[in-house]
Symmetry: C2
Subunit: 185 residues, 2 copies
């Protein structure tokens, strides 16, 4: 699996990668323990501060690491990681070291303890912004405090989940810039 060298990227532009709705890998760390989970339930919420919401069920082993550390990294896997994405979602960090089992290479984040995944072309360091809906809905509102993105490909291919073991891979890119009012871009 390819490793990406990533560069600093404007946090107010993470929608470029997250708004299309890809499956992401969320890494976490708390008091010497770390884990990674597969997540499909997320949304962009604001540009500046750069806010992203994630729904994380308390049944996940990552839940307590994330809730207690108040940090995570949202990593963007490509189709070459599809079987890894499924594997990570089908085992628990309570039983296995997923980083070892799936051969995940990590690098250190700069603002949080959770690791960046080297095999993902984009990684977003997050700090908890609002925990108001965590207890009721498992909904964490994050501020992306640092973004790391590979220079190529400019628009990495992504995988999207439909449930029932079925994935959609991102397809054709098309521009409609000419139809937008300048202030809407």
């Amino acid at each position: 699996m390819k490793r990406y060298r990533k560069y600093d990227f404007p946090v107010d532009q993470v929608r470029r990668f997250l708004e299309p709705g890809p499956i992401v890998l969320v890494s976490s760390a708390f008091k010497g323990e770390r884990n990674v989970m597969t997540l499909g339930w997320h949304t962009v919420l604001a540009f500046s501060p750069s806010l992203v919401g994630t729904m994380i069920s308390s049944g996940n082993h990552s839940f307590e690491l994330i809730r207690r550390s108040r940090q995570c990294v949202i990593n963007l896997p490509g189709p070459d990681l599809l079987d890894t994405v499924v594997g990570i979602g089908n085992c628990s960090g309570a039983q296995v070291d997923k980083f070892a089992r799936f051969g995940l290479d990590t690098t250190a984040a700069s603002e949080v303890q959770a690791p960046l995944l080297a095999q993902c072309p984009a990684s977003f360091e997050c700090r908890l912004h609002d925990a108001g809906q965590v207890k009721r809905h498992g909904f964490f509102i994050w501020e992306v405090v640092k973004a790391h993105v590979a220079k190529a490909p400019k628009r990495p291919k992504t995988v999207h989940y439909r449930g029932d073991g079925q994935f959609m891979l991102s397809g054709e890119e098309v521009s409609r810039r000419r139809l937008f009012k300048p202030e809407m871009l």
Copy 2:
């Protein structure tokens, strides 16, 4: 543009259409006024009740119709509606009747006042479930109370937004059912 005949669909399976992160058209109605807006910031939140969250900025003309009626319909447009999606997102219901301008055919919903869009292959009737994050983040938590889906295509093509006038169209469908534990499907 094609019109779809739609049929009752299990509300706990709307993830099949929404989890991949498509752009949706949200229709609304309140006291004789109606509108439709383009929306890319949404996430599935729960299966049963079937909960979906949407971030809707108060700057949108639809915001007050949606907030006051506590209802909406989330419609799923295909790539044949891409220019319409952009057009709807680049004008305001305060100035124009978007249904007339864009030739949108509507049919009546059964549980809410907002209309279903006939040119969309799926429409989800929503009632407000939790308004706790509306004031702070524009985040509405909806219960999908009735789902309408065309029988074909089974997995309609969708459009996904990256910002900056750039769209990604849904691509190849791939199954990894064989890699899932039965309880994870």
